[in-house]
């Protein structure tokens, strides 16, 4: 970190103002929502589930049912086991779930409910029932953010469901927390290489579904459980995330499949921008033994053409990038490619790997390494941003107040986007995603110039 970097959280700096992160179970519920027939279930008191539903609905504008054990005072004292079992039966009864994903909350982690133990008992007690698989993950928010909850849930699903019995042709893809549009695009890309891919999670339909005839208890779509079971027999896994911990059984889904079943792992940064997308397409060529289809080659060509056409509008513009660590590394890499100078890259998480990843992404492209700050909130970000005087922000909608204060554009990416329409349809990935982001950045700069101008530019 450079000398003027954001004040790190020290003993004397304890409160959080406007967090740049969310809590762990939220990430887990999104993963469970991305499984076919999946019902997310929070073991805890009612409020957490309701708050998360509300938060997620505001972004996706889709139903997001999260069941809860609805623990009250008594259960908080004597343990939540009976309510958990009761709740599971209720869900099985009415929702006809294909899978139930149980995540713990701070409350149940603190009172020490042994969820795996309770589930074992439950399975024994009701062994006569034709039961949907129940997957569980521990997600105490006092140790980690929603992204860690997300990664942990993906891993838990694979850990508890995947087998290596039979070899399959489908490759695995663990994209991380990307948009619905991103997932759809990934499917297309795999398709173009003649690969069928099991993408986990896949909420591209469940959280961005069509208008329907009948209200569906569980929205259709999602990764089929059978495909998850088969993941151990896949020829390869793609796992995105520049700040994920090193692959290995303990860390991530891809690592687990590699060490347990020998599935070859391609660990890549999120394919955002030119170079990261190139990496992805190169590994796709390697896995499929097929050249990149012409349409993607053309997308790449058009992107490069647009790099050139747009470069003067963005060159040396200074930007602040904030949000989830993997996402901001990808965005930083992209901005550096087009000549934007990322002056601050800030995240609420604390993986400890952010700075290295950001530096790697910027190497050789920027005049000076950006400041990198992890474990920060919007108070910290605001503090630095006021001094750094950026030209624009790149991040989710929670930076709105600050952008307004500094009267600079905020280009909304990632999650949550609460104050705009279509957040779930923002494409970030691959050449097309880069193209769309580039257009938005360039246009934001042009619009700013027009707005600030006394004479009103027509042709620019």
């Amino acid at each position: 970190m450079s000398a003027t970097a954001v004040k790190p959280k020290t003993e004397s700096f304890v409160s959080t103002t406007n967090a740049c992160k969310l809590c762990k179970p939220l990430g887990a519920t999104l993963v469970f929502k991305g499984i076919e027939g999946g019902v997310p279930y929070l073991h805890g008191s009612q409020g957490c589930a309701t708050y998360m539903r509300r938060y997620i609905i505001s972004h996706f504008r889709e139903p997001m049912d999260i069941a809860s054990s609805s623990l009250g005072e008594k259960q908080a004292i004597y343990g939540g086991g009976p309510n958990l079992k009761k709740g599971l039966l209720t869900v099985m009864d009415k929702y006809e779930a294909g899978m139930i994903g149980v995540a713990t909350t701070c409350l149940t982690e603190t009172i020490g409910d042994d969820v795996p133990g309770i589930l074992k008992e439950f399975r024994k007690e009701f062994s006569d029932l034709d039961m949907a698989p129940v997957v569980n993950v521990a997600t105490p928010s006092f140790s980690g953010t929603h992204m860690e909850g997300f990664t942990a849930a993906v891993r838990a699903v694979v850990d508890q469901l995947a087998t290596g019995h039979a070899a399959t042709k489908a490759v695995n893809c663990f994209p991380g927390f990307v948009s619905c549009e991103d997932i759809r695009h990934l499917k297309d890309v795999f398709d173009g290489f003649g690969l069928s891919a099991t993408i986990l999670p896949d909420y591209s339909e469940t959280l961005d579904g069509p208008a329907v005839d009948e209200y569906e208890k569980i929205t259709s779509g999602g990764t089929p459980v059978a495909d998850i079971k088969a993941m151990g027999g896949a020829p390869a896994s793609f796992e995105f995330g520049a700040t994920l911990s090193d692959p290995g059984e303990a860390a991530t889904a891809g690592g687990l499949l590699q060490s347990r079943f020998g599935v070859a792992l391609h660990r890549l940064g999120l394919p955002i921008g030119l170079r990261q997308s190139d990496e992805f397409f190169k590994s796709l060529e390697a896995v499929s033994c097929m050249p990149t289809p012409r349409r993607h080659a053309l997308e790449r060509g058009r992107l490069l053409d647009a790099f050139v056409d747009g470069h003067k509008y963005v060159s040396q513009k200074r930007c602040v990038i904030y949000g989830e660590e993997d996402l901001i590394v990808g965005l930083t890499s992209f901005m550096a490619e087009i000549g934007v100078v990322p002056v601050l890259v800030a995240g609420g998480g604390k993986s400890g790997r952010l700075e290295k990843a950001v530096h790697a992404a910027c190497e050789g492209l920027v005049p000076e390494m950006p400041e990198v700050a992890d474990g920060v909130d919007f108070y910290d970000i605001a503090d630095r941003a006021r001094e750094l005087a950026p030209d624009f922000f790149l991040g989710h909608s929670k930076g709105y107040r600050l952008a307004r204060e500094l009267s600079i554009p905020l280009i909304r990416v990632g999650f949550p986007i609460h104050d705009r329409f279509g957040g779930q349809r923002v494409r970030h990935l691959c050449y097309l995603g880069a193209q769309e982001l580039l257009d938005r950045v360039v246009n934001a700069m042009i619009e700013k110039k027009q707005t600030d101008s006394d004479i009103g530019y027509g042709y620019i």
Binding site: T16, R54, S69, C106
Partner: protein, 465 residues
Amino acid sequence: MSDIIFEERKDQIHVTGEGPFKLACNRDSLAGAVSQRACVFCGSRVVLYPIADALHLVHGPIGCAAYTWDIRGALSSGPELHRLSFSTDLQEKDVIFGGEKKLEAALTELIDRHEPKAAFVYSTCIVGIIGDDLAAVCKKVSAQKGIPVIPVQSEGFKGNKREGYLAACKAMFTLMGTGDTSDIPPISLNILGDFNLAGEIWIIREYFERMGIRVVANITGDGRVGDIAKAHGAALNVVQCSGSTMDLAKMMRETYGTPSVKVSYFGIEDMAEALYTVARFFKGLDPDMLARTQALVKEELAVLYPKLARFRQDLEGKKAAIYVGGAFKAFSLIKAFRHLGMSVVIAGSQTGTPEDYEELASICDPGTIIVDDANPLELSAFLKEKDVDIFVGGVKERPIAYKLGVGFCDHNHERKEALEGFVGMYNFALEVHRTVMSPVWRFVPRRAGKTLAAGISDLPKECSI
């Protein structure tokens, strides 16, 4: 619809006219049934958070504070401290060793930074379990900083929103009686139970001011600590019947003898009645007030009625469903819909009391579904069964309506349109009209049927090429 209703919840649903009225409520939500309810913390947060010059610190892990960051409008005409989200962001070591030290340090730090007039400290579930002594920390910091630092006992699991309301009222009550009341005139009142979500308190205050009344404290929309501290000097508490501040009015009556009246600012009758009730109260002190109020109402209605008539032409005979937080709002909404020629066929709330529901049932048409603490499955089944044209609810209800191709009006904490007062009735009608009359419903599958052949068997038998 019956296959959708949980056995355990059958007695929380009633159809008016089908047997004697009986409805179970005020129960814990059924485990596993996706309740629309939140928690105690949520209840106290909604009530207290609009106090704009206070610091609102959530003591707990990050989620509880993050999810409530500025999610509700609650506009302020001055300071905006309430729109920030402060948390102690408890970490594992705090959970093991206790979070009191961190809380104290966080409070000190934030009070120094923002110089608030008071601080509210909310406890969350986890704090209830690890047993931090909130009161002791607050007392200590209060003594050091010379401002009220007030613990709000709002552990989420200790009940539902209603308990949170009570916790909030208790917290506010500790502020009261500390301010100077010498400049408060005898014709004065406090506004309780309104949160200024879309600038609505400004509308209501203006009415009262036109009537010649001084408003002492807004509790809590556009609220100020100093005003609440002297609210006991007002002659009357006007309580909007959301139930959220009823406890405060009760405490004030017991301690300061302040009388209170219950009102609602939604809809025409209720809004007018609210003003008349207040005017009647001050009749002895100002004999002309009632006449002035009547003139005010007349003036407003002269503008409003012709506009409503235009909407009514289109809306006559359409059906509405209501699912709101508190039951009181439902009463006003039913009346408001009648002005538009519409009938309410489903009415429910998250936290109604037996008395609320009884009253609700008595003003509803026969065949209306009355429901307590519903969930998406039930709500969607009801909407379909009754084939409604509009659903009134909050953000969590919106996708249920939209998925089914039904219009929607946000009547909850997140709304951005002022729906109170006479102008609010107009805004409401406008919104209802916009959504109900939108052409989009003609195209949604549930209304239009399937129109594309994709994957469907109604392709022509023989193709022309």
